[in-house]
Symmetry: none
Subunit: 264 residues, 2 copies
């Protein structure tokens, strides 16, 4: 009673040392589970690291993958489940593979701090893009050509898509399934995930009226102020000045709290 193995778009997710376990598991769950009910017309999925070797996740666990960057040559979509906001430089081989994939039409989709990798490649210049609300000020400060939307769940730029932190990546990937296979299949995937109804990309990342922040230190107090005035500019040098920290320290502290890409 099992259907044919899937023959549809090849989705490749990028693992790296420090990769966040939860964000990594999102594309695996959406694209990589057996769905015999959909037959052959469904995604194929692979997890890759730069050299095909195991990575060490942000929690410190070792994780094996399915292959190396050569899989990006055949990918129809590449998911970047996080990156290193404090140290976003992209190694040459990965940069070349990503740019080649994009040039031949592969879709690139980021979750959380994965937007920093796309930003480093210049692929977000002149575009509206998003990332986890914790990282948004740093993304806007470092890449002034990006129109950073810090409080939406995801931004669909066609060939390049970005989403906010953690669970908002689920919303983006369900949006992609909806585009590729229609609402009925997207809803079947959501139902198996035991998720509530669709969240739109422009839905706010959070609602502070429900979530009073705890102001336990200067950075927490500062973060609460950012949340209260997200429309204001919060470049990292302002964050540093107001928190009484160095640029490096404040960038690192923000990255540590977002938990999206602990490898700093």
């Amino acid at each position: 009673m099992h259907g044919s193995p899937p023959q549809g778009p090849l989705v490749v997710a990028l693992a790296f040392d420090g990769a966040p376990m939860f964000e990594l598991s999102i594309p695996a769950e959406i694209f990589g589970l057996p769905r015999p009910e959909f037959g052959a017309d469904w995604y194929r999925f692979a997890l890759v690291s730069a050299d095909g070797a195991m990575v060490r996740t942000g929690h410190g666990w070792e994780l094996s993958v399915d292959g190396d960057l050569t899989l990006l040559e055949r990918a129809d979509m590449i998911v970047i489940p996080g990156w290193r906001p404090a140290n976003p430089e992209v190694p040459a081989a990965l940069r070349a593979a990503m740019l080649a994939a994009h040039a031949r039409g592969a879709r690139l989709a980021s979750i959380c701090s994965g937007a920093f990798l796309l930003a480093e490649l210049g692929l977000l210049d002149g575009r509206r893009a998003t990332t986890h609300w914790l990282h948004a000020p740093l993304l806007a400060q470092r890449y002034p050509r990006i129109a950073v939307a810090s409080d939406i769940l995801y931004a669909d730029g066609g060939d390049v898509l970005t989403s906010a932190g953690s669970a908002a990546g689920i919303d983006l990937l369900l949006h992609i399934v909806r585009q590729d296979y229609g609402v009925a299949r997207a809803n079947a995937v959501a139902k198996r995930l035991v998720l509530p109804a669709q969240r739109e990309g422009d839905q706010r990342q959070y609602d502070d009226s429900l979530r009073p922040p705890q102001q336990t230190d200067r950075l927490a107090a500062l973060m609460a102020r950012i949340l209260e005035s997200p429309a204001e500019k919060w470049p990292v040098n302002r964050l540093a000045a107001e928190a009484g920290m160095s640029l490096r320290t404040v960038a690192r502290a923000f990255a540590a709290r977002a938990g999206c890409a602990p490898g700093t």
Copy 2:
């Protein structure tokens, strides 16, 4: 600026060959991320396998863990992120460790098919419990002493808690954080996960009226179109015209299916 390392309850999640990556990552994300803003009074987290060796996840990737069953001797809470519904027998050493932990007061919390492990231990007999809707009929058939609630998100039985599949595990673990540390911290965790407001345990696992896989009538077809073009305006008079129903009828039918009034 980092807080003290956490000294709070030790949460241990159980990995095993075939363990689902997404469900495994949920306790890691909720309990296992650095949260220096909470200081020392926060959970410690460890991932274990029966013998401390690597496991092979359901996707086939190898994953290392933090330790073996001896960690269960000190655990304040054990999370079971899944189990083997078709072959749920529990190896003797794991059975003994789980029962000993429960006997000395550790909380046991399951996600998805993890309820089958608790059921095998007899810990759900005479209780209300849940699992993923896909597995609920098998759970009820195999363990007739359990009051299986197949369409709730989670059931809090005090010392033994069960949740439905996948994302509903997030709801249960946030519920536990709310019990242990209050609503403000639970909301801060949800906010970092970029999750919407709290879902109650008795919320239904899914609502098929919002997810018409088959367009059995005009209203279902119309609702599918709304889901495909949510940015459009769908006032009730347009709904009525397109469905060929009166204003009253379409409003009532829509409310019955969607659980909310149509947009105005």
